[in-house]
């Protein structure tokens, strides 16, 4: 069995003292930012990227990945105890989790959230380990046309799966693509939109964009509303589930895990969408749908499993195709590039210890997270009482110094101020920032492959359609666009995002 041999290599890497330590650090930081509302994994990973320059690439990725899925665990705690999503993807958990807590069943809600996440995390990781080699072996034969088609599919899927207006999401993707053209054109060597500014000749660093439109914008948005966090209870009596709880949760966890694993692979899908979808499905299938919103345990079990499964499986496109599924995996891709590892199908062959080490570390991380989140829950509850006004100045310092340290230049800080303001204005107009960042990161790759494909075919556009893989991918893209325009699907999509 190849898989077993590969996994044992992976565990060999992940079980070293250093990597265990980084995994733990990632899990702790992830839980922390998951619990604190107003600080998401995107901003945190962006903030910590510069610090990982000094680490081994494997350790760096293990830690950053831990932050990402750790946040899915931590987010549920805040959702259950305070009725605020500590992390965007735990919005749905608020509905029933908080009601459970109000009925004195906070312990049970926390337990099922953590155990469901653990199960989902393990399955999602297994799926990643099983699917990745096959996908990567297919992708090795891809040419420029296939890559172009694949990235286009990714961007369109991100639009379809984003909440809110599709036209605005497309506009944000295009905006991101345009911003991505800033810098020196690789084909002609001509500088575009640099206005003679030396710092722009290499293009804008994606960390600057991410910190601006996520980090700074998040702070500004948090500061405009009042910070009233009220804990429903600071004492948690029992974490034990009753037999009835288990009977009702098991199918919900299974369904949530399956749904999350699949949706997580789709570009732009990820954790938030899967938790919404899982909740909707549970409510549909339930024999007692009237209990949903009143503290039904399935309403916690399913979305929490789904979001963690999605968090793991969203590594699939990034590790096998070099295409990020969402903003956080885009940042992780950036972390690989910092260490001169080109994300894509070659990673598995060129850096097997990194690839399998990262996968193995996810199992370890998920187990660590259950330990961190259940027996030590009272520690985290205390943290919830720290008001935002004490927190954000420190976040500001980390964000600013992080951006400065990319190239040790204050120019990046000024740029980030601009992107922070842009992000805040965009949020007022209900534009989403995630498609912008995705477009920005994929932009240069998309342009490069587009131009190369047409160069090879001597300007013949049929090359995209006549090559079978690229043709199939473009057909799928066209189908998704068609879905987006059909009014029936639009209605379904809207209800999926507004399930209340």
């Amino acid at each position: 069995m190849d898989l077993l041999a590969n996994l044992s290599t992976g565990f060999g890497v992940a079980f070293t003292f250093d990597n265990m330590l980084y995994c733990l650090v990632g899990a702790v930081v992830g839980t922390l930012i998951g619990i604190l509302p107003g600080l998401g994994p995107v901003a945190t990973v962006a903030m910590l990227l510069p610090i990982t320059y000094a680490l081994e690439p494997t350790s760096a990725l293990i830690m950053l990945a831990g932050i990402y899925y750790g946040a899915q665990y931590g987010g549920s705690t805040t959702a259950i105890l305070v009725n605020l999503p500590g992390e965007a993807s735990s919005v749905v958990t608020c509905l029933d989790g908080y009601q459970m807590a109000k009925k004195g069943r906070a312990g049970q809600a926390l337990t099922i959230a953590a155990l469901g996440s653990l199960f989902a995390g393990c399955v999602g990781t297994l799926l990643l380990a099983a699917v990745a080699p096959t996908l990567a072996s297919i992708a090795v034969g891809f040419g420029a046309a296939e890559y172009f088609a694949l990235m286009l599919l990714g961007l369109v899927a991100a639009v379809v799966l984003a909440s809110g207006s599709p036209v605005k999401a497309i506009a944000m993707v295009v905006f991101g693509l345009v911003l991505g053209t800033i810098g020196t054109d690789i084909n002609s060597g001509e500088e575009r939109y640099t206005f003679g500014i030396f710092e722009l000749s290499e293009g804008i660093d994606f960390v600057v964009v991410a910190m601006g439109v996520f980090g700074i914008t998040e702070i500004l948005r948090n500061l405009q509303k009042s910070d009233d966090r009220e804990l429903v209870t600071s004492r948690i009596d029992s974490l034990m589930l009753s037999r009835e709880d288990v009977r009702r949760s098991v199918p919900a966890v299974l369904r949530g895990t399956g749904l999350g694993s699949i949706l997580g692979i789709l570009p732009g899908g990820g954790a938030l969408l899967s938790s919404f979808a899982a909740y909707t499905i549970e409510k549909r299938l339930s024999k007692h749908p009237q209990e949903f919103g009143q503290g039904a345990i399935e309403g916690v079990a399913a979305p929490e499993s789904a979001n963690n499964a999605a968090a793991q499986s969203s590594f699939v496109p990034m590790l096998t195709l070099g295409i990020p599924a969402n903003a956080t995996t885009a940042l992780l891709m950036g972390a690989m590039m910092i260490h001169n590892i080109q994300p894509g199908p070659q990673v598995m062959n060129n850096n097997p210890e990194l690839f399998w080490g990262l996968i193995a570390s996810m199992w370890i991380g998920n187990v660590l997270l259950v330990i961190l989140n259940l027996p030590m829950i009272s520690v985290w509850v205390k943290l919830l009482k720290v008001p935002y006004r004490l927190l954000y100045p420190a976040i500001l310092v980390f964000v600013t110094v992080g951006v400065f340290s990319i190239q040790n230049s204050t120019f990046a800080i000024y740029l980030m101020i601009g992107f922070g303001l842009l992000g805040y204005v965009l949020s007022k107009l209900e534009f989403e920032a995630a498609p912008l960042l995705l477009g920005f990161i994929l932009g240069p790759m998309l342009e490069d492959n587009f131009r190369r494909a047409l160069l090879v075919s001597a300007g013949d556009f049929t090359t995209f359609v006549t090559r079978p893989v690229s043709g199939a991918l473009l057909a799928l893209t066209a189908f998704l666009l068609f879905l987006l325009l059909s009014s029936k699907f639009r209605q379904k999509r809207e209800t999926a995002f507004q399930e209340e």
């Binding site: 610090i51 000094a54 036209v167 605005k168 497309i170 506009a171 295009v174 905006f175 693509l177 345009v178 053209t181 054109d185 084909n187 002609s188 001509e190 575009r192 939109y193 700074i216 702070i219 500004l220 500061l223 405009q224 009042s226 910070d227 008001p387 935002y388 006004r389 004490l390 954000y392 100045p393 420190a394 500001l396 310092v397 600013t400 110094v401 400065f404 340290s405 040790n408 204050t410 800080i413 000024y414 101020i417 922070g420 303001l421 805040y424 204005v425 007022k428 107009l429 209900e430 534009f431 342009e447 587009f450 131009r451 047409l454 160069l455 075919s457 001597a458 300007g459 013949d460 556009f461």
Partner: protein, 154 residues
């Protein structure tokens, strides 16, 4: 007219048009090229044009759907926090090369800290002492980031 201007979609479209116009005008000199030999201008100019079309569509749709009840999306724009937070970051960038990390960071925390609606002056001042010292130790002494710790004169 006033109703239309206040509509969120109209404003969104206007913003897209503005950005598209910027990239189209400043990039007008870039060579467009042909399909088999694309110039540097091909991709950015086509994308900017697409953005302009999307912007125009949003304006038309928004203008049609606009009602006098539409709330101005910028009515809730938090001017004070925005100015203080962004200003504080700018201050940090300006001060860092001359005054060193400790002072620049203290300014950042002090000015930025005033942005919270429920701010307390004493807390902000304590933070402005503690955060620079602790993060200075971490960033400069432990991680070795190349930033001056002290003002230039020392």
């Amino acid at each position: 007219m006033h109703t239309i201007i206040r509509n969120r979609e109209v404003q969104s479209g206007a913003l897209l048009l503005l950005v598209a116009a910027f990239f189209l005008i400043t990039g007008r000199g870039y060579e467009f090229g042909t399909f088999d030999m694309m110039g540097p201008g091909f991709v950015p100019l086509s994308l900017a044009a697409l953005m302009a079309v999307l912007g125009a569509a949003l304006i038309v749709w928004g203008a049609r759907a606009a009602t006098p009840e539409d709330a101005n999306p910028f009515a809730s724009f938090a001017v004070r926090p925005t100015v203080l937070v962004l200003g504080a970051i700018g201050l940090f960038a300006l001060a860092l090369p001359y005054l060193g990390y400790l002072i620049a960071c203290a300014l950042l925390v002090l000015v930025g800290g005033l942005a919270a609606p429920d701010r307390r002056l004493v807390e902000v001042m304590v933070s402005a002492v503690l955060i620079p010292v602790i993060t200075g130790l971490v960033f400069i002494v432990v991680l070795g980031l190349p930033m001056p710790l002290m003002p230039e004169v020392f």
